[in-house]
């Protein structure tokens, strides 16, 4: 349900109707920024938003994204360490 895709606001189309130009991987589309605007629309330029059916529905929180990726990275390292230990234990068993 609800296909949404991150895009970056690259221009303002119509301040009055709160329409901006968003870009997703080289594809451009006018989107409504009513849901994410607070203040003059220029401040949105460069912002990443989640786009659904022609509306920017949410601003993407860069810090939260980084935190999630960091957690994933740590988890990966911990898992590698665990696996190395398991491999070590198996090798020991094999020798015994």
């Amino acid at each position: 349900m609800c296909l949404g895709i991150p895009g970056q606001i690259v221009g303002i189309v119509d301040e009055d109707r709160q329409m901006a130009m968003a870009e997703v991987s080289g594809v451009r589309r006018e989107v409504s920024v009513v849901c994410v605007a607070d203040g003059p629309l220029e401040t949105l330029i460069g912002t990443w938003v989640l786009i659904h059916v022609g509306f920017a529905m949410s601003r993407i929180d860069e810090d939260e994204a980084a935190r999630t990726l960091e957690a994933l990275r740590e988890l990966g390292e911990a898992q590698e360490a665990l696996e190395a230990m398991a491999a070590g234990a198996a090798a020991l068993e094999g020798r015994a």
Binding site: M1, C2, C35, V53, L82
Partner: protein, 384 residues
């Protein structure tokens, strides 16, 4: 693609899968006695199959595909009403592509189009509004379909139409809400769910608190999840860890997009334009109280139900499912798609019998498209 590629990293997926396996082992989940996790959202169902996650994940974790596919749960009577609207000569009927092939009792929108109805696919309700501006002598009806993610877009479009005083634009409102059917599923005595993966894009609108009852009243974990493979895997891990630790909480894996309290502008627009219907029919689940929305009186000029006299409940209700169709049981998780007697035989994506075979996020279509066809032939061969 930023915020997409990073969450598709194969190495991280491997680590997550190992950690999931270790956690599943720790709680004693096995193929014979699996942990049942429902992904509520059809977008998650689609992603699970697109990336083959169901085959990669520990065999003690079983996905139950939830009712979060708006075209799958749309009753056939409403599709029939769409077709009737589309067949009116003054109407340009606009819709998302998703609804085009959903079978009604008589025909689908794509068939109505072939027979001469002016049906047009649009990407956004704003595009339907633009059609109304450009065609002042025609009635442009937009098929308002979807959960809380999509509801703000039609609400804001109606408000824009009101501001411009457009007299030839209406919305045929079929918006529905996520929490009520979850409660129905949890009340079902046959239901054996151990936890939920929550719908990320619905939650960016409504926030995470509408799910509090799942943890508080029913003691089930729920993790609101993003749509990339790492998002899904991490969320499954978080559900398993809650089960392992004996916790039942609402957690948010998708914090980069989902604020705790949702989006205030969207919520205000929904509240301004829509109100709950006393009840709404869900295909496979029946009537559910306060689960659907209708347009408030203040915006009745933009309500296709009013303008074209299609009161909800005016026509014959609860059109029976086609014979042999087990969509209802599949949707409630009681049976797997391949266990439906019609799966892959009387019901295929070419000739869908039930809605779950139509939408690419319907559980049956996903099974069929992404590898279930083989499973089906294995299941059904002995019976033949």
């Amino acid at each position: 693609m930023r915020y997409v590629e990073e969450f598709r990293d194969p190495q991280a997926a491997k680590s997550l899968l190992s950690r999931i396996a270790a956690t599943a082992d720790a709680i004693g989940a096995t193929r014979a006695k699996p942990v049942h996790i429902m992904e509520i959202c059809g977008g998650h169902t689609h992603a699970i199959f697109r990336y083959g996650l169901d085959r990669l994940i520990h065999e003690g974790v079983e996905f139950i595909h939830g009712p979060g596919c708006p075209v799958c749960v749309l009753p056939r009577s409403r599709v029939d009403e769409c077709v009737l609207l589309a067949e009116r000569s003054e109407v340009i009927f606009t819709t998302f592509g998703d609804a085009m092939r959903v079978p009604g009792t008589r025909k689908s929108l794509i068939q109505a189009k072939a027979e001469g109805a002016d049906v047009r696919m649009v990407y956004s309700p704003l595009d339907a509004l633009e059609l109304a501006r450009r065609n002042p002598d025609r009635e442009v009806v937009f098929f308002g379909l979807g959960f809380e993610t999509t509801t703000p877009s039609t609400a804001l479009t109606i408000r824009q139409a009101a501001r411009e005083g457009l007299g030839n634009f209406t919305v045929f409102c079929n918006h529905i809400t996520v929490p009520p059917p979850i409660r129905v599923l949890l009340e079902d005595p046959h239901m054996m769910l151990d936890g939920f993966v929550g719908p990320g894009h619905v939650s960016m609108v409504i926030g995470t608190h509408p799910y509090d009852f799942i943890a508080r009243d029913y003691g089930k974990p729920i993790v609101v999840a993003g749509f990339e493979p790492l998002d899904l895997l991490q969320s499954v891990l978080m559900v398993l860890e809650q089960i392992r630790d004996g916790r039942a909480e609402v957690e948010n894996q998708y914090a980069r997009v989902v604020p705790e309290h949702g989006n205030p502008v969207s919520l205000a627009a929904i509240a301004d334009v829509y109100e709950p219907r006393p009840s709404f029919e869900w295909r496979g689940l029946g009537e559910i109280d306060a689960s659907g929305l209708r347009i408030r009186d203040a915006y009745r000029a933009f309500d296709a139900e009013v303008k074209f006299a299609i009161g909800y409940g005016a026509g014959p209700r609860a059109v029976a499912e086609p014979e042999g169709c087990a969509c209802g049981q599949v949707m409630t998780g009681r049976i797997k798609p391949v266990a439906c007697p019609q799966f892959g035989l009387g019901c295929t994506p070419e000739m869908p019998l039930g809605a779950l075979m139509v939408s690419s996020e319907g559980a049956c279509a996903a099974y069929y498209q992404y590898g279930g066809a083989r499973a089906a032939s294995q299941v059904q061969e002995p019976a033949e």
